[in-house]
Every structure is written in structure tokens, then in C-alpha cells.
């Protein structure tokens, strides 16, 4: 979503009439045809039409004189004098209906026409208009056959309001059409009455239902972002936060929802909180991301937040209005007067997410048009009548939320498998009922079901009320007015609403808005909004006007309060927090100097510098690249005269060591020769071990290609590049021709360690690296080392085992290391396994006894003997049911007692 997006002019607001019936035309009818049409009327309809044209009607009209009456009517139907007379007598509803017909070229779909007239004049007015048009013979019924109208349908007689056609059309006679009003008068008839000022007696007592203010919304969004920046919130699979998480967000809100938090089970039950949440997501200040573990977490888009906070206030409001319009926020489900029964799309009239988005866009666009065309008061202290606005929207977009043509229709199959709860029929709003509905049958839901043709205001009208008092009030645009009886009867746009929706917002003057001095619509002055005090307290003046500054300040200071003035505190911990995000002490001091109205005190500067210095005492690079050369002169040349040398070196660490810059292969400035390394394919795809050593060593072979098409990169620098750069150096006066050795410390090379005998671990030729030696040296003793061949031998010894134990190594860690580096197929000999286990304390010490074993013929004999507790010290353990091990040295003490009991022990050799 782009922050500069705003609504475009919409011509839907300029179409008050009905859509013309494409291609339909009323051909010229002969007098005989006209007569036959009237003859197809029922006698009652014919009588009404004759009376409507002031023709004499016989007392007893029958089939015998039908033709004569039809002929009389046919003679005058297009007579200007007769028509002029009839037009004078028309009711307002009929005049409006005729205006709709004239604007549409004289032919309209009857159902659409009835709906349109009914919207303005209700069901009674609608029926009266049809009665007058047909009953005064100004129009006739027809049905469309290709593009021609047919007026007679075999045996079916036509009655007023009963055309006798499946799909009926209304056609006005040409003379009536031309004699009816036109021009400005016609336009006035067609245009829906504009929303007008509230005219109730209690206008002075009106009070806002929910005072509108944008600032609390901005403050809450800011608080949410601050909270989410410090924590990656884990979301439910629905994408919403769990209760424990939204409870924390709720606690941060400056304006709470009406429902107490304890009663809310899910986010959608807290409308304002959900609204804020959706704004964050749609405006992409916060994004949802799915992790490899299929968890959904939140991430704050820091750059976007900074961009948003630095926007002029007007643009901030517009951005959030657009975010709301495009959000998944379901305003419809929040309508307090509706009771929701079902959200089944097959059986209910709940608007889809896309419908709601379009409807919100329509309403905001309509308000913008009304403001720009000066159809609304320009002062925010004037209330408008709520119902007049509802009427206006209803006329312009009757099917704003619920289609009258595409109705939910559960099939018989559906009924069979599932009871369609909340389905009342095609003529009702399905899936919910209205508590405002007059309940004719209080024991049934049907009594509260809203009727499609009658109850627009109970559904769509109440949705508009919710928008004005809810989301649009939270955005600071509108307010809903309550009368003394706490009924919502009026509404108005706020000062902010008038600017945001008006043309002033499009101009964006350079220096505020002169008409609305309280609304900063230009880019806020980001400078000098802080007072940095010597006691390390920072006061932010007019915080809501300086959100971008606060957002920066938040990175290294802790917020203590937020009001007219926001209070922050600097501390070692807060500054360290900022330093951890990559800030430096210098940047923090620069920021404070730029934005403080007073000079920074020396003690504050010293404190920040001290904290910074203490933080930078230890620098850790988790994945550095080092170049080590045998001769310091090589590095001297690289950093001095060798082409390309200086560009790859970041820092010299010692005479023979240099830290290289982080660069990618193929980066501009380096040659693009692809690095190719010979590495076992298996090890390339092997996942890195969590604990195990991860070193891989490879000698480059320029010109060969990676196996399986894998792109093997050496990370920051290619071997070939390095070889080319080093070729420009000399060692002992001779050009350096040896290819550099590349050691990757995080790659494991299976098979690099081989076991010789029971205790010798040999590093395979060309496979040694400092990291591999370090791992082996933890639990084995070095025997010999050949650096030029990159090999070494280690021996498993008991002293090495003791050392490993002191380092905290366990047998399992060593075994895992050996499995990874010797290769999965290598099985350690039992003797090796046993010695490593014993040396590393895997097995406890064995306990030895001098013992005699007593063997009995029957287990019972030993059981009975040792059931006597006096013999317990003598027994070491029962080796089996018939064998007991006893302490040899104790036997003489027990000999007498055993003899007394008749236990004889015959010792065998």
C-alpha cells in the first residue's frame, strides 16, 4: 500500500436514475394494436383506465362492451389535451416514477422501477405510482423479445400491478413522455434530496456519542508498534493474536473498548482493538510471516513505520483511511442492533469481505464528493440529520451490501443435510435479525427478521450508523449525535474530516491550514522537540506531532509516560538496547543534539560515551573471512600496490592476517570468474549440525564445474579472484603462484577423520583445519601434525578423556562428532567405544567384592534364609534364584548362628 494513495472521483455519485434498457425501443403502434392492448386488460383495469382519462364508463362493464371501451381509450391515449390534464393530477411518487422513465428513454424494467420509487416514497407511494401510470393510461406493460416490446400475451389478462408477464417492463406513451417536465425541473425531480441539517427541537442538546479524535488512534498504533518491535508475536493459525497477546495490546490502548477484556474470548469481540490490528496489517507497518516451523509471527516493518510517522498529519489520516477501506475488518458483524445467527454463505446475507471494501470506499468517496461540492456544512459545529443521510445513500446505492437479485437459495439437497439456520426466505435478510424490528411474533426469530424491500435502514442504515460512530470516529473524521433520549439522530464531519475529505487536503498548502489552525496538515517540524535534561530525563513536547522523532528516541530510551508531554529516560540498559540494534554512541549523541532545545550536559555526553565504549570493548564477528599469509610482505603488497588488493581488505589484524570485506562473488569491482571447488556432493547438501564441528576444506581447481549443477560459492571471495590478486604479489622475490587454500569452518566433510586401530584418529590428507584440530584436541592428544599436507594424528587417551570431561564434553557429543566426521557408515570398534565411554564418565566405576557364592538346590532355601533380617548384611546380591553372593570376610561372624539354624555350607575347593 502506497501512503500517497487516495480516492479518485467516482461517477457512480452522478447517476441518480435507472439504467436504460439496452436496445429496447417502442415502435409506433397502430390504433388497432393499441385497442388490442387495452382489450387484453381485465374489466376492472379497463374501467380504471377509462376513468383515469375521464371517459364515460357504462354502469355494468362486461365482455360485450369491452371492445368499445378499449376503442374509446385507444382514441385518446395519445391525445395531448387529455395527457396534459392527467399529468396535472399526478402524485409526487408518480411524478418521480415518470421522471425515472423519461430519464431512461421511456422503457424500464418494472421491478427495478418499483424498487427505485419505493426507496424514496415507500411501499405505498410505489404502489400508488404504478396505479396512476397504468390506471391513467400513461404507460403500458410489456415484455422484451430481443429488442422489441411485446404487449399482449395470449390468454392472460393484464391488471394493474399484475402485468401477466414473467419479466415485465413499463413503457410510456411518446406523447406523455414529451409533455412531461424536462431540463432543470426533471433533474430536480430525479436528484435525491441531499442530507440536510438537523432540524429537531433539541438540536442544542445534541451531544457526541463517541467524541472523534485521531490522536488516540495514532498514539495506540505507536504503542503497538513499540511493543511489537520488541517481540515477534506468535499468531494463531487464523492470523489473529491469541488472548494472552491481545490482552497485552489492550493494556496499551489509550481508549478502550466497551466490552471488558475479561469477557472477550477473541479479538473480533473487541472492535477498536481489532480495528487497530487490521490497520497495522493493511498499512503494512506490521507484517505477518510464516516461519519454517509453520508458525505465523509478526514483524515490524521499521522503515515503513519511520516513513509513516514522518508523513504530514493529513497524509497519515488518509493512509489509515485507505488502510481501513482495504482491510479485512468486518464492520458489518459489529452492528450492535443485529443478532447474528449464521454466517453460512449459502444461506445468509452477510456481505463478503470484498463487498464491505467496496461499500466503505463508496461511503468515503460519497462524503468526499459532498464536501468538495459544498453539499455539506463547512463548519464542524453543525449537525446533520442522520436519516436524511441514510436516505441519500439508499437512493444512490440501494444494494450497497446486500444484493436483491442474487439471493441465497438453499437447495432441497442442502435442506436434507443441514438445517438452514437463520434462513427466512428470498424476501428477507437472512442469517441475522434486527433488535430494532417490531416483533409481531415474539416467540419466533422470523418475527425479528428484516424484510428486504422494507428494512434497508435496519441493516444497511445501521451499518452506516456504525461507521460514523465507530471506525470513522476513531479516525477522527465524523461524530454521531445523540439526543436527550440517547437516540442516534444526527451526525457531522469534524474539522479534521472536512480537511481530509475536502479539496484543501489536495492542495496541501506549505504552512498549515489557515482555516483550521488546529490541524497540522503539513509535514511536521521534526527538529527541536526534545528537552534533554542533565538527569538523563528526556521530555518530548507535543509527542503526537513528533512521532517520527519519538520512534527514533524509542530505540535507546525507555518511555515512562505519554501525554501532553512524553517522558523518556536514558539508562545504561536502554542505550545498550539501541547499541545492539546497530546504533553507535556517536549517532545517539548526534540525534539528541539535533533535536534538543537545550545543549546536552557534559555528564550525559560522558555517560553515553562510556556506555558505548564499554559495549565496544568486545567485538564479535560471527562469520568473518580472514586471509592468512605466510609472509608479512605479501600483505604489505596487497594493501599497497597490488591491483584489487586494497579493495578486498577491511582491516589488517596482524603482520600476516587480514580481515576481508564481506563481498559476494560477482560483485562489481571483482572479476566475475566463477569459483569452482571440488567438494563431495554429499557434504554440500548436508545440513549443518547444531553441536558438531562444521569445517570443510577444499582446494580450488580452476575450470572445473560443480557437481549436479550446484553453484558452489566460497562466500565473500572466490578462489580464482583471490589467486589473481595474490598473483600480483611476490614471496621471497618470486611471484606467488600457489593457489590459496580455502577453509570453510561451517562445513562438515564426512570421511575427513579416519580411525586407525582402537585409538588413533587420523585427519585425512588435505582435510585438516584449525577448527577440526580444535575439536579433536578437546578429547584426544596430538601425536603429530603435517601442516603442508593438512593432516595430523590424534590419540584417544585416558588423560585426554579427563581433559574432555573438565571441558564439559559428554560421550554423546564426542560420538556425534565422530559419526559426522568419520562418516555415517563408520562403526566404532567396541574397544574404542568402551574406552571413550569410560574415559568420559559415561559409565560409573564398577564395584568389586570379595565374595562367596552359595548355591542351593531349591530357591526356597535361600529365600527363607535371607528373609531373616539378621542375615541382610551378609548378602551382597542374589545372582539367580538358586545362587546368592555373600561377603566372604563376614561369614565367620555368622557361622555359629547358621549352624544353630542347621544351615550347613560345604565349601568347594
Amino acid at each position: 500500500m502506497d501512503f500517497t494513495t487516495w480516492l479518485q472521483p467516482d461517477h457512480r455519485f452522478d447517476l441518480p436514475g435507472l439504467k436504460p434498457v439496452r436496445g429496447a425501443r417502442l415502435r409506433e403502434l397502430t390504433p388497432a394494436e393499441i385497442q388490442s392492448i387495452f382489450e387484453s386488460y381485465t374489466l376492472a383495469a379497463l374501467e380504471t383506465a377509462c376513468k383515469g382519462r375521464a371517459l364515460p364508463v357504462e354502469p355494468k362493464l362486461s365482455g360485450v362492451n369491452r371492445a368499445r371501451h378499449a376503442a374509446m381509450l385507444a382514441a385518446v391515449f395519445n391525445n395531448p389535451t387529455s395527457i396534459t390534464q392527467v399529468l396535472k393530477e399526478l402524485s409526487p411518487a408518480t411524478r418521480y416514477g415518470l421522471a425515472l422513465l423519461k430519464a431512461s428513454g421511456g422503457i424500464v424494467n418494472r421491478a427495478e422501477w418499483l424498487q427505485k420509487v419505493g426507496i424514496r416514497y415507500g411501499l405505498t407511494g410505489r404502489d400508488q405510482a404504478e396505479q396512476e401510470l397504468i390506471g391513467k393510461a400513461l404507460a403500458i406493460y410489456g415484455t422484451l423479445h430481443h429488442s422489441d416490446l411485446l404487449f399482449v400475451d395470449g390468454g392472460t389478462k393484464q391488471a394493474i400491478a399484475k402485468p401477466g408477464f414473467q419479466e415485465a417492463y413499463l413503457a410510456v406513451f411518446p406523447a406523455a413522455l414529451s409533455l412531461f417536465v424536462e431540463g432543470q425541473t426533471l433533474a430536480e425531480l430525479l436528484n435525491p434530496p441531499l442530507p440536510h441539517l438537523y432540524k429537531g427541537q433539541d438540536v442544542v442538546a445534541l451531544r457526541p456519542a463517541n467524541p472523534a479524535s485521531f490522536e488516540p488512534l495514532l498514539q495506540d498504533l505507536f504503542s503497538f508498534v513499540r511493543y511489537l518491535e520488541n517481540i515477534n508475536l506468535k499468531l494463531l493459525q487464523s492470523g489473529d493474536p491469541a488472548k494472552k497477546d491481545f490482552s497485552k495490546l489492550y493494556a496499551l490502548m489509550s481508549v478502550k473498548d466497551l466490552l471488558p477484556l475479561a469477557e472477550a474470548r477473541k479479538l473480533s469481540e473487541l472492535p477498536r482493538l481489532e480495528f487497530l490490528w487490521q490497520l497495522l496489517l493493511t498499512s503494512e507497518l506490521v507484517i505477518r510471516q510464516t516461519t519454517h516451523q509453520h508458525e505465523i509471527i509478526t514483524l515490524v516493518h521499521t522503515a515503513r513505520v519511520a516513513e509513516f510517522l514522518a508523513l504530514p498529519r493529513l497524509q497519515q489520516v488518509r493512509s489509515l483511511v485507505m488502510a481501513w477501506i482495504g482491510s479485512a475488518y468486518n464492520d458489518f458483524l459489529k452492528i450492535p442492533s443485529l443478532s447474528f445467527i449464521s454466517n453460512d454463505p449459502v444461506t445468509s446475507d452477510l456481505p463478503a469481505e470484498s463487498t464491505l471494501k467496496t461499500a466503505r470506499e463508496f461511503v468515503v468517496g460519497l462524503l468526499e464528493t459532498l464536501v468538495i461540492r459544498h453539499h455539506l456544512p463547512t463548519r464542524a459545529d453543525q449537525w446533520l440529520e442522520l436519516s436524511s443521510f441514510q436516505n441519500y445513500v439508499q437512493e444512490l446505492n440501494y444494494e450497497l451490501l446486500v444484493s436483491r437479485r442474487e439471493r441465497p437459495t438453499p437447495s432441497g439437497y442442502y435442506y436434507y443435510y443441514k438445517e438452514p439456520k437463520g434462513y427466512f426466505g428470498r424476501d428477507y435478510y437472512n442469517g441475522y435479525t434486527s433488535r430494532l424490528q417490531l416483533n409481531n411474533s415474539p416467540w419466533s426469530r422470523e418475527g425479528r427478521a428484516a424484510v428486504l424491500d422494507r428494512d434497508w435502514k435496519l441493516v444497511e442504515g445501521e451499518w452506516l450508523v456504525y461507521l460514523i460512530g465507530g471506525p470513522m470516529a476513531w479516525l477522527g473524521l465524523t461524530e454521531l449525535g445523540l439526543n436527550q433520549a440517547s437516540q442516534t439522530v444526527a451526525w457531522k464531519l469534524t474539522d479534521l474530516g472536512l480537511v481530509v475529505l475536502g479539496e484543501a487536503g489536495n492542495d496541501q498548502p506549505a504552512e498549515g491550514n489557515p482555516d483550521k489552525p488546529g490541524i497540522p496538515i503539513t509535514k511536521v517540524d521534526l527538529e527541536r522537540s526534545l528537552i534533554v535534561q542533565p538527569n538523563l530525563e528526556v521530555l518530548a513536547l507535543a509527542p503526537l506531532e513528533h512521532m517520527a522523532v519519538l520512534h527514533q528516541l524509542d530505540r535507546f530510551a525507555s518511555q515512562e509516560s505519554f501525554g501532553e508531554v512524553a517522558r523518556y529516560r536514558l539508562s545504561k540498559e536502554s542505550v545498550l538496547k539501541g547499541l545492539r540494534t546497530g546504533l553507535t554512541g556517536g549517532q545517539i549523541l548526534d540525534f539528541l543534539t539535533t533535536h534538543s532545545r537545550v545543549p546536552l550536559s557534559q555528564n550525559l555526553i560522558t555517560s553515553i560515551q562510556d556506555w558505548n565504549n564499554s559495549f565496544e570493548r568486545l567485538l564479535l564477528r560471527p562469520a568473518a573471512t580472514l586471509l592468512e599469509v605466510p609472509d608479512p610482505a605479501v600483505l604489505d603488497q596487497l594493501m599497497g600496490t597490488t591491483p584489487g588488493g586494497a579493495s578486498i581488505i577491511e582491516k589488517r589484524l596482524s603482520p600476516t592476517l587480514a580481515l576481508l570485506k564481506t563481498m559476494s562473488v560477482g560483485e562489481p569491482g571483482l572479476t566475475t570468474t566463477q569459483l569452482t571447488l571440488t567438494q563431495p556432493t554429499a557434504s554440500l547438501n548436508k545440513p549443518a549440525s547444531r553441536n558438531g564441528p562444521q569445517t570443510n576444506i577444499a582446494k580450488p581447481q580452476v575450470g572445473s564445474k560443480p557437481a549436479n549443477g550446484a553453484r558452489e560459492t566460497a562466500g565473500p571471495l572466490s578462489s580464482q579472484n583471490l589467486a589473481e590478486i595474490l598473483a600480483g604479489t611476490t614471496q621471497n622475490g618470486k611471484p606467488s603462484t600457489r593457489q590459496p587454500v580455502i577453509l570453510d569452518y561451517r562445513q562438515i566433510k564426512a570421511g575427513a577423520v579416519q580411525l586407525e586401530g582402537e585409538s588413533i584418529l587420523k585427519v585425512k590428507l588435505g582435510s585438516g583445519s584449525p577448527y577440526l584440530y580444535y575439536r579433536l584436541g578437546q578429547f584426544a592428544d596430538l601425536l603429530d601434525w603435517e601442516p603442508a599436507k593438512q593432516t595430523a594424528r590424534f590419540e584417544l587417551t585416558s588423560s585426554a578423556g579427563v581433559r574432555a570431561q573438565r571441558l564439559g564434553l559428554t560421550y554423546l557429543e564426542v560420538a556425534q562428532f565422530l559419526t559426522e566426521w568419520c562418516g555415517l557408515r563408520t562403526v566404532l570398534p567396541t574397544a574404542t567405544r568402551l574406552r571413550v565411554k569410560n574415559w568420559l564418565g559415561y559409565y560409573p566405576t564398577l564395584t568389586g567384592y570379595r565374595s562367596l557364592s552359595l548355591k542351593a538346590v531349591s530357591p526356597e532355601q535361600l529365600d527363607e534364609l535371607f528373609s531373616l533380617s539378621e542375615f541382610a548384611p551378609l548378602l551382597i546380591e542374589r545372582a539367580s534364584a538358586r545362587v546368592a553372593l555373600i561377603h566372604e570376610e563376614l561369614l565367620p561372624e555368622y557361622q555359629a548362628r547358621l549352624t544353630e539354624l542347621g544351615v550347613l555350607i560345604k565349601l568347594q575347593n
Binding site: L620, E628, P630, L660, A714, V741, P787
Partner: protein, 116 residues
Amino acid sequence: MGLMSEGTKKPPATSELSQAKNSGQRKTVPELAELNTSPTLRATPTWPGGPAILHQNVALLEIASETLANEILLGTTLANAIVRRLTPTLFMVDHARLDELVKQLTRRGYEPKILQ
């Protein structure tokens, strides 16, 4: 202190690093060679006339001063995780134990600045 020949050799028995010990301290800086028999804790893997070595994905810890380095070696288990001591203040450390090491250093008041 690289080996001067390419033949098979026993590594030097003593470490020159031990000379950096602060003799005035009651506790002594751990002797790295006593904790680990890795040859590259006592000598460099390069030799005159040999190739240059590119060490990639190395976890590198740089400490502001030798005194501070010795203090940390005494007060923490850093010594156990040293792959090579490149200079008195510069260490290659075990990348697999970085999390544990950073936590311990932070707890002891030596929080490192992590440079990505």
C-alpha cells in the same frame, strides 16, 4: 610461529601465549595448551613459501586490550571455546558455542557488540 619445515613434527611443548600471563594475578590465565592439544593453538598453519589461507565463516572475537582479554579468560569459560589465539587480543572462537558464550559474557558484564 609457524613450523619451519613441511616434515612431520611434534608441536612445541610450550606456548608463547603463556608468556602473556599477568604474573601479579593470584589466579593465572588458563594455559590453552593444557585445555586442548590442537597444533594450531601453538603454531600457525602457514609456513614460508606455502600458500595463503582463506578462512571463511570464522567466529572472531576482538577484545579492546590484553588486560581485559586476560581478565575475561580468568572469569569466564572463553578459554574452552578458543580455536586459535591470533594475537593477544584476537581470538577465533567455536562458532557452535557462540550463543552460550555471548550469554555468559553478557551475564559477566562483558557484552560483545555483534557485527553482522
